[in-house]
Every structure is written in C-alpha cells, then in structure tokens.
Symmetry: C2
DNA sequence: CGTGGATGTTGACACCAGCCACTTCAGCCG
DNA sequence: CGGCTGAAGTGGCTGGTGTCAACATCCACG
C-alpha cells in the first residue's frame, strides 16, 4: 500500500505542482503562493520544481493559461443566445469568484509583464470564446450588419467591463455601497448589450 | 553645507517614505517594492520605517489612499459637462498609465483584504468624485429623472468599466489585437453613456 | 547488466518582513 | 545651564523566500 509512500521520483510532479498551486492560492491568496510552499504541498524538496519550470513565474503563467482555458470552456458551455452578453459576463465573473485560486493568479502582480507563449495563446483563445459566445447577442441588437472590427471592439469592451467588476469587487473598492447598488455581472452585461445603439 | 549630510534624525521620514515608495514602484513595479528598499532610498536603516508604519501594508495603504485622492483631484479638475462620462473614464485610466507607481500599488495583491480606514475613506471620496463629475452627463442622457440609487449604480458601472480597461491593458490580455481595436477609455466612456437608454 | 540522462535532494547565497534591545538626540523642566 | 525623557533611528536576530550549483537516485535503453 505504501508503494507510493516515498518514491524518489514523484512521477507526475509537473501537473501536481500546478494543481497544488491553485489549491494553495485558494487557501492563502496570491501573496502566500511561494514556490517552496507549492513544493511542500506536493511532498517534494524546495528545488524540485526547477526541474519542470525555469522559475516561479513560469509555473504561475502555466496555471494562468489553464485558468483562462477553463474560463473559455465555461463560456462555451453556456448556451449562447440573444441574451448571451449578460450571461457571458455573469459566467466570467462567477468563475473568478468560484475559483479564487485561479482568480488570484490570473491577474496577479507577479505575472505583470511576463511573456509566455502559452499564456498569450490562452488569452487569445479566451477572447475567441468571448467572441463566439457573444456574437449572436451583438448581432441581434444592431440594425445594420457590423464590420468585424466593430464586433471585436464590442467584445473587448465586454471583457473589460466584466474584468472591472471583478477587480473592484476584489479590492472592495465599493465597500461603502449596499450590495443592491453595486454593479452585478448581470447589470453590466445588459449594460454592455446596449453599446451598439 | 553638509549640515544635512547625515543627521541622526531624518526630520521628515514619513512623507519621504511615501514618496520613495511611489518612485520605487515606478521603476521596479509592485513586485519590487520592499520596505527595505524604500528605507534605503530614503537613506535610512531598514527598520526605521517601523517607527512610522506598523508594517509594510500600512505604508502601501497610505500610498494607495493618496493615489486615490490624486485621482479624485484629477476628476474634479476636468470640467464636467454633458460629455463628462467619456472624459472621466479617460482621466481615470490615463492617470493610472501616467503614474504607474500609484497604479502598481493601488490594486496590488498585497493590499487585497487590507482594512484601512484612510484607504476606505479615500475609496469613498473617489467614488464621490466620479459621482460629482459624471452626474450631469448621466442626467443629460436620460429622459425621466433618476432615482439616487440609479445614479449610484450608473457611476459604479462606469468606474468598473474604466478599471477593467486598465486591468486588461496592464496584463496585456488583448496583446493580439491591433491598437486601433483595443478598447480605449474614450470608447468605453461613450459606451458607458448609453447605459440608461 | 551497465550506464546516461532525467528527476529530486542538499547546501548555499542574497534578499525580505518583522521582532528585539540598544543608541542617539531634541526639547522640556528645573 | 544641566539632566531627564521619550521619540526616532540602528544593528542583530529569526524564519522565510527565489534561485544557483553540486550531488544523489533511479528508470529505460543499449
């Protein structure tokens, strides 16, 4: 039974590190994520992660890429329709609320200015998911057909609005407002619907 | 002339620390702000800051409060008018771009979950500045008079949208889009104007 | 079998936040 | 003027961190 007790080689350390990083972020927030703590959680020495990632940022970038991909999946799962813009915004922000581990990492300070091809690809894919999901909703609310660039602008705006809701919520910048008055994803979503008027 | 060379007491360390923190953040980003580096920049021993701030977070909170106040001032300086919503958004985001030191600290991970009365007050004041600046613009675009809570919701949305633009820009999440298609403050601003349609 | 290369470990260095005891000095009280 | 006191700054220490270099282990392929 303890054949898996303490083998010298972990066997699946790379993915284990990624999972533990998310779980750790869930518990202690983005500040508490230390590479050593992640290694500890994976039951491995402090420097073992360096066999799989060149540095801490690379691990976080990988986690962020996976998180973005999961958001894209969530967006694709929700059925798109004429009212898809509000639901997309809702889906986006509720994912970040439901998965605080990813949320903490995705836009963490440590990742600011990190160049990672995988992360860049994930960002582009996420944008694609927004675009696909939201397109019919945009098309439905506008009279004349939109140019492609207009659609892109609209989607970028929608993502920005959703991101802003979450950021202000996370920093509790609207702490003084009663819940009923704070911007909810759905409100902003329907708000975003009107941008092509 | 070197009477001011190395006096044992700095004389104005508290404000000096705040200034150096901003300058440091400007150069090295939010990750590089160590209390010791700030102390070093102020020409003082690593522990001197603890005479003026209980811990690092308290210093950062103070800086953030000042930054928010400066944004509020900027909002109040711009003349408000019927088109004030786009210009408010522009003012907000351009401040963060122009003052990356404040930007790095204002929504830094380290300040997440920090309870500071001064910071909370600054947040509320900043919201007040948004409200004052943007109110005429909102009133102008709506037919019937708005309830106070509706105005508040509208302002919270506007702030969220502006914040989202900046956050996505900072993380370069829309790196794959040409500049012309990325959401600009002005676009989002006029976008926000329409929410009461 | 044996060995090479991937995977983990140990040790070390420089840095950090925060605690403590100590020193310096300015201003006040006599 | 001279001594005291408390605020401001210093240096030492602990526990923690990211990262590098050298070493140990072990699986897979010859």
């Amino acid at each position: 039974m303890d054949a898996s007790e303490k083998p010298y080689h972990h066997g699946n350390l790379r993915t284990a590190l990624i999972e533990e990083a998310v779980k750790l972020a869930e518990r202690v927030g983005s500040q508490g994520i230390s590479l050593r703590a992640v290694a500890r959680a994976a039951g491995v020495s402090p420097n073992a992660p360096y066999r799989h990632f060149p540095n801490k940022r690379a691990l976080l970038a990988e986690v962020a890429a996976i998180g973005m991909a999961e958001i894209a999946v969530a967006l694709n799962e929700v059925s798109a329709g004429a009212e898809s813009l509000p639901t997309a915004t809702e889906t986006y922000t509720s994912f970040l609320v439901r998965r605080p581990g990813y949320a903490a990492i995705l836009f963490s300070d440590e990742l600011a200015g990190v160049e990672s091809p995988a992360l860049n690809q994930a960002r582009a894919d996420l944008f694609g998911a927004w675009l696909r999901h939201v397109e019919p909703s945009i098309a439905a609310t506008v009279a004349s057909p939109m140019a492609a660039s207009e659609k892109i602008v609209a989607v970028a705006r929608a993502w920005s609005a959703a991101q802003g809701i979450y950021t202000l919520r996370r920093s509790d910048s609207l702490h003084f407002l009663p819940d009923t008055v704070r911007p909810s994803p759905r409100q902003i979503g329907s708000f975003a619907t009107r941008l092509q008027a």
